[in-house]
C-alpha cells in the first residue's frame, strides 16, 4: 500500500511528523455524522486513518452536493491554518470514520513557536491544497464530457 | 424486397435578394434532377414549381441576402419551419455584391438608380442570412458549385458531414494541375486567401482568382496584400477586388478597410 508515504504525513520530514502526531488524538466518527459545517469555526483538523469523508456545499433547497471525497491518509481540513479560521465546505463521514484529530490552536501555537516546524506543516498543507487545486482545475475542464476521450473518439 | 416506403425528406428552396443563379444551379443538375425528385419531395421551389406545400421542411436551401424589413420577418418564418437550413451562395452567406451598399449612403444609391427613391423600401445594409437566424450549413460561392450542392444534399440525406473543405483555392488549383498564375505569370490572384470549392476555374483559364467563394478558413492578409501590390495592384485595385461578391465577409471587409486606412 502506498498510503504511508503519500498521505498528508508523508509530506512531512520524520522529525516534524513525529512532533505533529504528538498532538493527535484518535477519534471515531459514526457513519453519516456531520463533521463540520460551512462557515463554522475551523478549530480542529483530522488525518484519516480509515473510512472516508465527503466535502459538500450548502445549496438551499437541495441536498448538499458532494464536491470531493477524501480517504485514508488524507488531510481533512485546512481552513484552520488561515484566517479567519472558518470552514469553506461542510464535511460528512462516509461509513465509520477513524481519524487522528488535532487541536488547531495548539498546532498553530507550536508552529508560531518553532518556525522550522511551522514551515514544514504549512508546506505540507500547501502541498495538499495545491494537489486539490490541480484536481479541481482538471475537473473544471469537464474532460469526460463530449467531445474527447481516448482513441475511440475521432470522428468526421 | 423493400422495406416499407420511408417518408421522403421535404425540400424547400427560398429566395432573397439575389440573381437566382444559385437556385438555378439546382436545375442545372440535369443528370440528377429527376432522381433527386424521387428521393426528396420538392415541397417549395417557386422557380421550378407552382405547387407549393406548407412546412415544416426537412431541408431548406436559402438563396439571397436580407435587404428589406419583410425579408427579416420572412427568414424567421423560414427558420421556424425548417429542420435544417442551408444557405447557398455569396448573397446568403456574406450579403452578396449588393452589400456594397453597406459602405455607402443608401439614399444616395437609391437616388442614383431611381428618380423617386421614396417608392422603394430597402434596408441600409445587405446582410447574410446568418446575421438573422441560426444556419446549419453555409455553402459558399458566387455562384455555388453544382457538385458541392449535390454533395450537401446527398450528405444531408445520408446523415453525413458534407465534404466541403474550407481551405484555399490553391489546393484545388494544384490538384487540377494548373500552373500557378501568380508564380509563373505575375498575375494577381486571390487564390491563397479564398475558400476552395469552385474547382479553381479562373487560374485554369489563365486569370487570377477574384474571390467569389469568399475567404478561406485560414487567411493571412498582412502577408498576402503585399503580393498583390508586387504584381501591380494599387490600393484601389486591392480594395475593389476584395469588395465584390463577398465584400461583407468579415475577413475581406477588414482587409479592405485596412487598405484604405493605409
Amino acid at each position: 500500500m502506498t498510503t504511508s508515504q503519500h498521505g498528508f504525513l508523508g509530506g512531512l520530514p520524520p522529525a516534524h511528523r513525529d512532533r505533529l502526531t504528538a498532538f493527535a488524538q484518535e477519534v471515531e466518527i459514526s457513519a453519516g455524522a456531520r463533521i463540520f459545517e460551512e462557515g463554522g469555526a475551523a478549530d480542529r483538523f483530522w488525518i484519516i486513518r480509515s473510512g472516508g469523508a465527503a466535502l459538500d456545499v450548502h445549496v438551499p433547497g437541495r441536498p448538499p452536493p458532494v464536491v470531493e471525497t477524501l480517504g485514508e491518509g488524507d488531510l481533512l481540513g485546512w481552513s484552520w491554518l488561515f484566517e479567519p479560521y472558518r470552514w469553506h465546505l461542510g464535511a460528512q463521514a462516509r461509513g465509520r470514520l477513524r481519524a487522528d484529530e488535532f487541536d488547531a490552536s495548539r498546532v498553530r501555537a507550536a508552529c508560531g513557536q518553532d518556525p522550522a516546524f511551522g514551515l514544514a506543516v504549512t508546506g505540507a498543507v500547501a502541498a495538499v491544497i495545491a494537489r486539490r487545486l490541480k484536481a479541481t482545475r482538471t475537473r473544471l475542464l469537464d474532460l469526460y464530457g463530449p467531445p474527447g476521450g481516448g482513441a475511440g473518439g475521432g470522428d468526421g | 424486397m423493400n422495406a416499407e416506403p420511408r417518408r421522403r425528406p421535404r425540400l424547400a428552396v427560398w429566395k432573397f435578394a439575389s440573381c437566382d443563379g444559385c437556385q438555378l444551379t439546382l436545375l442545372d443538375c440535369e443528370d440528377e434532377l429527376l432522381g433527386l425528385a424521387e428521393q426528396v419531395e420538392i415541397a417549395h421551389f417557386l422557380e421550378a414549381s407552382s405547387a407549393s406545400e406548407p412546412g415544416p421542411y426537412d431541408l431548406s436551401l436559402v438563396e439571397g441576402s436580407v435587404t428589406t424589413a419583410q425579408d427579416v420577418e420572412r427568414i424567421h418564418h423560414i427558420r421556424a419551419v425548417s429542420r435544417r437550413l442551408v444557405t447557398i451562395g455569396a448573397c446568403a452567406t456574406a450579403g452578396g455584391v449588393q452589400a456594397l451598399r453597406n459602405y455607402a449612403d443608401v439614399a444616395e444609391f437609391q437616388a442614383a438608380v431611381y428618380a423617386r427613391p421614396d417608392y422603394v423600401a430597402t434596408l441600409a445594409t445587405s446582410t447574410p442570412i446568418s446575421a438573422h437566424v441560426p444556419v446549419d450549413f453555409e455553402l459558399r460561392g458566387c455562384p455555388i458549385d453544382r457538385r458541392q450542392l449535390l454533395e450537401v444534399i446527398t450528405a444531408h440525406l445520408a446523415g453525413r458531414r458534407p465534404a466541403v473543405p474550407a481551405h484555399s483555392v490553391c489546393f484545388e488549383c494544384k490538384q487540377r494541375g494548373t500552373v500557378c498564375v501568380t508564380v509563373a505569370h505575375g498575375t494577381p490572384c486571390l487564390g491563397p486567401v479564398t475558400h476552395a470549392g469552385c474547382g479553381a476555374i479562373c487560374p485554369a483559364y489563365g486569370r487570377g482568382c477574384y474571390g467569389c467563394f469568399g475567404p478561406g478558413d485560414s487567411t493571412n492578409f498582412p502577408a498576402f496584400v503585399p503580393l498583390l501590390r508586387r504584381d501591380g495592384m494599387d490600393t484601389l485595385d486591392v480594395v475593389r477586388v476584395l469588395r465584390t461578391f463577398n465584400t461583407a465577409a468579415p475577413e475581406f471587409d477588414a482587409a479592405s478597410r485596412k487598405e484604405l486606412d493605409r
Partner: protein
C-alpha cells in the same frame, strides 16, 4: 553492338525521338516535360518533338519564368510545377465503392483494372529519390497502397541528370543529385558542345537495356563521357541554395519552440502550395459520397495538406490551430520526423516549395535561421527559465 559492357551508349535527338516512340510502342504512356501555360509541365508526349527544346527557366523564391535558350537544350531546366506523384499518387482516386442491398447487406467493390503503364522521361535525380521515398511511405510498411504499387511497379523511369540547376535547387545538400542515384531504368546526361547535341545513356535495369538496344545509338565514347561528367560535376557547384551543414533531424527536434516559427508564420499564407508541389508529400484525405438513392456509396481519396486547418481535426477542434504549428509540422516532418517514420529525410532538395510558395518562403532560409537561433541560444549564458 553499340552498347558497351556497362550498358551505356550515346544517342542524339533522333535517338531521343526514338526513345519516346519505342516506349510508346511498348504500350507505355510516355510522360515528359512540355511547355504549357508559361511553364514546363509534365504531360503525355506525342513524340520527342514535344520536349521543351530551347527552353529554360529562371527560378527564385515565389517566382518562375520560362526563358528561351539559344542552345536548344531539351533538359536545361529544373523542377517544374508538378512532380511525378501526380501520376503515381494521383490527386484524386476512387478507392472503392459499396452497395447496400435491399436486405441491408453491404457489398464492397475494390477498384480494379490494369494500372496505366507509364514511362517517365526526364526524371531528375532529386525526383528519382523522391519516388524512392514515396515507395517507402506507401508500399514499404505493413500495409501497402495497392493502387500506388500497381502504378509504380509498371512505371519505366528515364532519369535525366541535372546540368543546369535552378537558383532554388539544393539537391547537393540533401545528397540526392545532380547525378542520378539508383532506381532508374535509363539515365540520360545531355551534352551540348562542339561534338554536337547528344545524350549519354546508361541502363539501370534489364528493361532499360532492352529499350536502349532498340534505339539508334553509338558507343559511349570517352569524350562524351568526360563531357557528361563535367557538366554534372559543374552543376553540383552551381546549386542556388544549401541547407545548414548540421544534422537537420536533430535541429528540428531541438527547435520546436523556436521563435523563428512565429516569424515564418507571419509570412505564411497556409495556402498549402508547398505541400502540393512537394514530390514526397503524400498526405491524403478521404471523402465518402453517396448517390441520391443512398444505396450506393463511394470512397474517394484526394491530396490533403497539413496546412489545412481541418487536417488535425479532433471532435473538439483542430490540434494545429495556429499557422505557426502548421508550418512547423510541415518543415519538421520533412526534415526531421520523416527519419523516425520512414528512415530518411523527406526533403530531396528540388526547391519546388521555394519556387511555388506565392510569398517565397524558403525552407533552406528557415533551416538556417533555426540553426542560428539554436546557436545563439546555446551561446547565451544559462539564465532563469521562462515560466512553463
Amino acid at each position: 553492338m553499340a552498347t558497351d559492357a556497362g550498358g551505356s551508349a550515346v544517342i542524339d535527338k533522333d535517338g531521343l525521338d526514338a526513345l519516346v516512340a519505342v516506349l510508346a510502342g511498348r504500350g507505355r504512356t510516355v510522360i515528359g516535360p512540355i511547355v504549357r501555360d508559361g511553364a514546363i509541365v509534365l504531360a503525355e508526349l506525342g513524340s520527342g518533338a514535344d520536349l521543351p527544346y530551347g527552353w529554360g527557366v529562371e527560378l527564385e523564391a515565389g517566382t518562375y519564368r520560362l526563358r528561351a535558350r539559344e542552345d536548344g537544350a531539351a533538359f536545361a531546366h529544373s523542377a517544374g510545377p508538378q512532380s511525378w506523384k501526380t501520376f503515381l499518387h494521383p490527386p484524386r482516386v476512387r478507392e472503392w465503392s459499396a452497395d447496400r442491398s435491399a436486405d441491408g447487406d453491404l457489398v464492397v467493390t475494390e477498384e480494379t483494372g490494369t494500372p496505366p503503364a507509364y514511362a517517365f522521361l526526364g526524371v531528375r535525380p532529386c525526383d528519382l529519390r523522391a519516388i524512392a521515398i514515396q515507395d517507402r511511405v506507401l508500399t514499404g510498411g505493413r500495409h501497402a497502397d495497392q493502387g500506388y504499387r500497381g502504378r509504380r511497379e509498371r512505371a519505366f523511369l528515364v532519369a535525366v541528370e541535372c546540368t543546369d540547376p535552378g537558383a532554388t535547387c539544393f539537391c547537393v545538400s540533401m545528397g540526392t543529385g545532380p547525378a542520378a542515384g539508383p532506381g532508374f531504368d535509363l539515365a540520360l546526361t545531355e551534352v551540348l558542345d562542339a561534338g554536337g547535341h547528344r545524350f549519354l545513356v546508361r541502363a539501370g535495369s534489364e528493361e532499360g537495356e532492352s529499350v536502349l538496344a532498340d534505339l539508334p545509338r553509338s558507343p559511349a565514347d570517352p569524350a562524351t563521357r568526360e563531357a557528361a561528367h563535367e557538366r554534372v560535376a559543374g552543376a553540383a557547384d552551381r546549386m542556388g541554395r544549401s541547407m545548414p551543414p548540421v544534422d537537420l533531424r536533430t535541429l528540428m527536434r531541438e527547435t520546436l519552440t523556436a521563435g523563428r516559427w512565429d516569424d515564418v508564420a507571419a509570412r505564411c499564407l497556409t495556402c498549402g502550395n508547398c505541400t502540393m508541389v512537394c514530390p514526397t508529400c503524400f498526405c491524403t484525405s478521404t471523402e465518402d459520397v453517396t448517390d441520391l438513392t443512398g444505396d450506393h456509396a463511394e470512397r474517394w481519396r484526394h491530396w490533403e495538406s497539413c496546412f489545412d486547418l481541418d487536417f488535425s481535426h479532433l471532435p473538439g477542434g483542430s490540434v494545429r490551430e495556429s499557422p505557426r504549428s502548421r508550418y512547423r509540422q510541415w518543415a519538421t516532418h520533412k526534415l526531421g520526423t520523416w527519419f523516425d517514420q520512414f528512415g530518411s529525410s523527406g526533403c530531396v532538395g528540388c526547391g519546388r516549395c521555394i519556387v511555388w510558395c506565392p510569398v517565397g518562403i524558403d525552407i533552406t532560409e528557415e533551416a538556417h535561421a533555426l540553426h542560428q537561433e539554436r546557436e545563439s541560444r546555446a551561446a547565451r549564458p544559462p539564465g532563469p527559465e521562462s515560466p512553463a
